[in-house]
């Protein structure tokens, strides 16, 4: 008989404590370290910089993402992450304002205790703001999981992800369209459409709170 998992240290819809420190990297045009609980990721933004000759595009800027693993060399999983992050930031950055240039975003996870994908999205967004890059909107992401007994937990730890998740959903919303459809969805596991929609609304509420927090910290800086 499998034990039903109940989260003890915080409410199901609550994220862990979020900490942001901007401008840690001196050489980069903008940077931010985002940590939620024990998950920490550092993002450095360079741009607009000169495009590589063979990647130069006449009417728009190129977005290049580099995701370095914490240990070892880059593997296909990191490449997958780069691909996903690229799709998000290409739509967030106003690429047509900077033709024939390039934006480079470097991500360096420092510790991974679950929800790394959403932490990466959030850190990238703050680093872009820190760099003063013109954006179409702010983007904010959360990860939620559905447990064996059907509970929806926001911002799962690595342990929760590994042992209790039937499905996990990383969902990103843009600030301007937070009440309509998400910008990015990555759902994995086994779930029905109804369950997904539940997750979407839970994660929307969580995103609203995170966005509020991000804005207040950015204003105070």
């Amino acid at each position: 008989m499998e034990n039903e998992y109940k989260r003890k240290d915080r409410e199901n819809t609550k994220t862990r404590e979020i900490k942001i420190s901007n401008g840690l990297l001196v050489q980069a045009d903008g940077s931010s370290q985002y940590s939620v609980g024990n998950t920490t990721i550092l993002c450095g933004v360079y741009g607009p910089i000169e495009a590589k000759p063979f990647e130069e595009e006449l009417d728009r800027a190129n977005v290049e993402i580099e995701f370095r693993p914490r240990t070892g060399t880059t593997n296909t999983g990191d490449r997958w992450m780069e691909f996903a992050l690229k799709s998000i930031f290409e739509s967030e950055i106003l690429v047509y304002m900077h033709p024939r240039t390039r934006f480079k975003l470097n991500f360096q996870p420092i510790s991974d205790d679950g929800s790394l994908e959403s932490a990466a999205i959030n850190s990238g967004c703050i680093a872009l703001i820190n760099a003063g890059v013109p954006l179409s909107t702010m983007i904010c992401a959360t990860t939620v999981i559905v447990t064996t007994n059907g509970d929806i937990l926001v911002d799962p730890t690595a342990e929760e992800l590994l042992n209790n998740a039937v499905s996990s959903h990383t969902i990103a919303f843009s600030k301007t369209n937070i009440d309509s459809s998400p910008v990015y969805i990555n759902s994995k596991g086994k779930f029905t459409r109804e369950k997904y929609q539940e997750c979407e609304s839970v994660s929307r509420e969580a995103c609203k709170k995170i966005l509020k927090f991000l804005e207040s910290t950015l204003e105070s800086n």
Partner: protein, 285 residues
């Protein structure tokens, strides 16, 4: 007439967006499909005799060949009772001018990794590849080679791998000089004194999948035209992609939306309906 066709072709080359837009505004696509139509899907199983399992999938012009080879190897220290399934998608310059020669590009790595994570233990249990705990397991190398690239590589490669595994003819087993041919994973035993894996008489075991996967891809062009199973031209125009995988029991296994566009609730309904229809289509293959 032929000059008109020639003009149309020039138009397509010079201004692809406008060319496609004129079709889309009449609820049609350049290859004659409607928005929710998939391209004709043709499959052949077990076309490669030297492989242990193989399949060919054609999705319109997109052609994928998947070959599986089973080899004996050592398991990981953390998972002594589990074998490996290693999908490897190859997008060479042969299939499209989009891809450069040399080491695998970003897209092929992404597709490989996505497939690897999709075929996890809930779809393909790895303990069935066990020979001797901690010493020997089967490793299934799945090479997914694209012969012609015309969009929607995700769907095509997943269907190809699915069919190659389902077909499950694991019929070669090579160890030193002994060469055996079998229809399924050969029955082997582990010899403790010599520390080697030997083939023994008797029926081998078939590999099984817990569930089948039914992928469908959609893309959004100019924020309003939702296209099912996009071709390469349509992919180039699209800014939003929606990828959904269903399993045999009508659950969703994977959903991946990327890009800036907003998918309206009506479009979401269409996506789910079409994905369900696609499942029925694919079940008949």
């Amino acid at each position: 007439m032929s000059t008109d066709l020639f003009k149309a072709k020039i138009f397509q080359k010079i201004h692809p967006q406008e060319f496609h837009r004129r079709f889309f505004s009449k609820k049609l696509r350049t290859d004659g499909r409607e928005f929710n139509d998939f391209r004709t899907t043709k499959v052949t199983q077990d076309g490669i005799q030297v492989a242990d399992g193989s399949s060919t999938v054609r999705l319109g012009k997109t052609t994928i060949v998947c070959g599986i080879r089973a080899e004996v190897c050592e398991p990981k220290l953390q998972t002594p009772g589990k074998g490996y399934l290693v999908p490897n998608v190859k997008l060479t310059p042969m299939c499209s001018n989009k891809f450069a020669p040399g080491p695998p590009g970003l897209l092929s790595q992404v597709v490989s990794d996505h497939i690897y994570r999709l075929f996890d233990e809930s779809v393909f249990p790895l303990d069935q590849l066990l020979i001797e705990k901690g010493t020997a397991v089967w490793c299934l190398y799945a090479d997914i080679v694209c012969l012609n690239y015309d969009g929607n590589i995700f769907d095509a490669s997943i269907i190809a791998l699915m069919l190659a595994l389902k077909n499950g003819k694991y019929n070669t087993f090579k160890l030193d000089i002994i060469y055996y041919k079998l229809v399924v994973l050969p029955k082997v035993c582990f010899d403790e004194t010599s520390g080697s894996v030997n083939r023994v008489k008797g029926e081998g075991s078939k590999v099984t999948l817990t569930t089948e996967l039914f992928p469908s891809t959609f893309c959004l062009v100019e924020g309003s035209y939702l296209l099912t199973d996009p071709s390469m031209d349509e992919e180039d125009l699209a800014d939003t992609f929606f990828f959904i995988v269903m399993d045999s029991s009508d659950n969703i296994v994977n959903m991946w939306k990327r890009g800036a566009g907003h998918i309206t609730p009506d479009q979401t309904d269409i996506i789910y309906e079409t994905a369900k229809k696609r499942k029925l289509q694919l079940e008949k293959l």
